[in-house]
């Protein structure tokens, strides 16, 4: 029997309790929580997001940094910068949090088979890109990753970066500044992009990071010949209801909680330069 629309809306707007299975530190202020999965989490495709509640503090949107369908648990990576994110990042094993979701549109993984994928991520932007790369690698593809971080100590998922390299993924990591022990690139992400685009007509790009970085990365991809329709960026705005009702995350004609967060550059490029948005 089909679930009535009213019931689906109540389900989507009411946090359900979930238990923290483990917590691990990724960087100075970044933590990864493994949370028990429910049946609905199987829809948590890479690039989508959940609304997480720290009880008594508040609720924020957090992307999935793992693949519940493959791992049997939900992974969220959180940067402790505000009251809610600090409370969530501080949850120990066994603690409870509230979960709504999955919400939104993720990376178009089904459409990229047989094409060259270049993922461009900056800072915490690697979190929503991580499950996409994992899925691509699992199905035998060899994407390219260009990843920028503030410093070597702030680089996330270092074990994954090493594992992906071992599996043939071209990983170019760069940091804004580094000491003498760092053997990777130092500098910003955009100049590293052009050389990694070998066949622009066959290339699809996934871009996620601070919006300033994404604008410059998108410009570099366009200059390298990648079509705007083939560049997908993950936008971040003030998601509140997450079901397309409240309008807090409106971005031009889109409500990003429903129509994003992942959107083709061709659709949103003009709005990226509108300060009011």
């Amino acid at each position: 029997m089909a679930i009535p629309a009213e019931r689906r809306m109540v389900d989507a707007t009411t946090p359900r309790p979930a238990r923290v299975l483990s917590r691990r530190r990724e960087a100075e202020d970044v933590w990864t929580l493994a949370v028990e999965a429910g049946p609905q989490d199987l829809d948590a495709a890479p690039g989508r997001f959940a609304m997480l509640t720290a009880f008594g503090v508040g609720e924020i949107p957090v992307s999935y940094s793992g693949d519940p369908a493959a791992e049997g648990r939900v992974i969220h990576t959180i940067r402790a910068v505000g009251a809610v994110s600090r409370a969530l990042a501080g949850l120990e094993e066994g603690a409870m949090l509230g979960v709504r979701g999955p919400f939104g549109k993720g990376w178009p993984l089904a459409e990229v088979e047989g094409r060259e994928v270049i993922a461009v991520a900056g800072g915490l932007g690697l979190a929503p890109v991580r499950p996409a790369i994992r899925r691509l690698v699992a199905r035998g593809e060899r994407p390219t990753l260009v990843y920028g971080a503030r410093s070597p100590a702030q680089a996330l998922f270092r074990e994954d970066l090493a594992d992906w390299r071992a599996r043939g993924v071209e990983v170019e990591a760069t940091v804004d500044h580094a000491g003498p022990d760092w053997r990777g690139h130092v500098g910003v992400v955009p100049p590293l992009i052009a050389r990694r685009v070998r066949d622009p007509a066959r290339t699809v790009a996934f871009v996620c990071g601070p919006e300033v970085m994404m604008r410059f990365a998108a410009s570099a991809l366009l200059e390298a010949g990648v079509a705007a329709e083939a560049i997908h960026i993950s936008m971040e705005r003030n998601m509140k209801c997450a079901v397309g009702l409240c309008g807090h995350c409106q971005f031009g004609g889109d409500l990003l909680c429903r129509d994003g967060p992942v959107a083709p550059l061709a659709r949103v490029a003009d709005r990226l330069h509108v300060a009011e948005l």
């Binding site: 800072g123 702030q154 760092w182 130092v186 500098g187 910003v188 300033v212």
Partner: protein, 160 residues
């Protein structure tokens, strides 16, 4: 990118193939070649030293170079790495300039070393050559300015 630039003919070919010199008319290439010589550096070698006269710039052919600054009481801080197809040293564009940073080979490095004083003199004598080279070096400066601004903005830092 080939680093076999040890003969005159090979140097000319390698120079012409360097991205920074792409499309430079043959007559200008000859003038640049007159200021060029192949160079190689082992890991750890200093290509440029902060405060030294900006006399020799490098077009990188292979290997990577760290641009860094020393500070008392702490390890050298690297703010940019450059690799094949890129240039190490742009301060030479300004007469009497000194290098602002250290440049250190992160592994074996091959380059085309440019006698910057001679090249600047050649640009003074032939403004068309000077303008052609400016059109190649100014985009490098702009790209580095944009990159520096992004680093200064600390876009990966606390958004609050």
């Amino acid at each position: 990118m080939s680093s076999d630039a040890t003969t005159g003919a090979a140097l000319a070919r390698t120079l012409a193939a360097h991205p920074l010199m792409a499309g430079l008319p043959p007559a200008f290439l000859l003038e640049v070649e007159a200021c060029a010589a192949p160079a190689e550096f082992p890991e750890g070698a200093r290509l440029l030293r902060e405060g030294a006269p900006a006399a020799v710039a490098h077009l990188l052919l292979s290997g990577r170079v760290a641009l860094s600054v020393d500070a008392p009481g702490r390890a050298p801080l690297t703010f940019q790495t450059v690799g094949p197809g890129e240039v190490v040293g742009v301060s030479w564009l300004v007469p009497e300039a000194c290098w602002a940073w250290d440049a250190t080979a992160l592994g074996p490095v091959a380059s085309i070393a440019l006698d910057a004083v001679r090249l600047r003199d050649a640009c003074e004598a032939d403004p068309a050559l000077g303008y052609a080279l400016m059109k190649r070096f100014v985009p490098v400066l702009l790209q580095r300015l944009h990159a520096t601004r992004m680093q200064v903005l600390d876009v990966y830092g606390d958004p609050g």
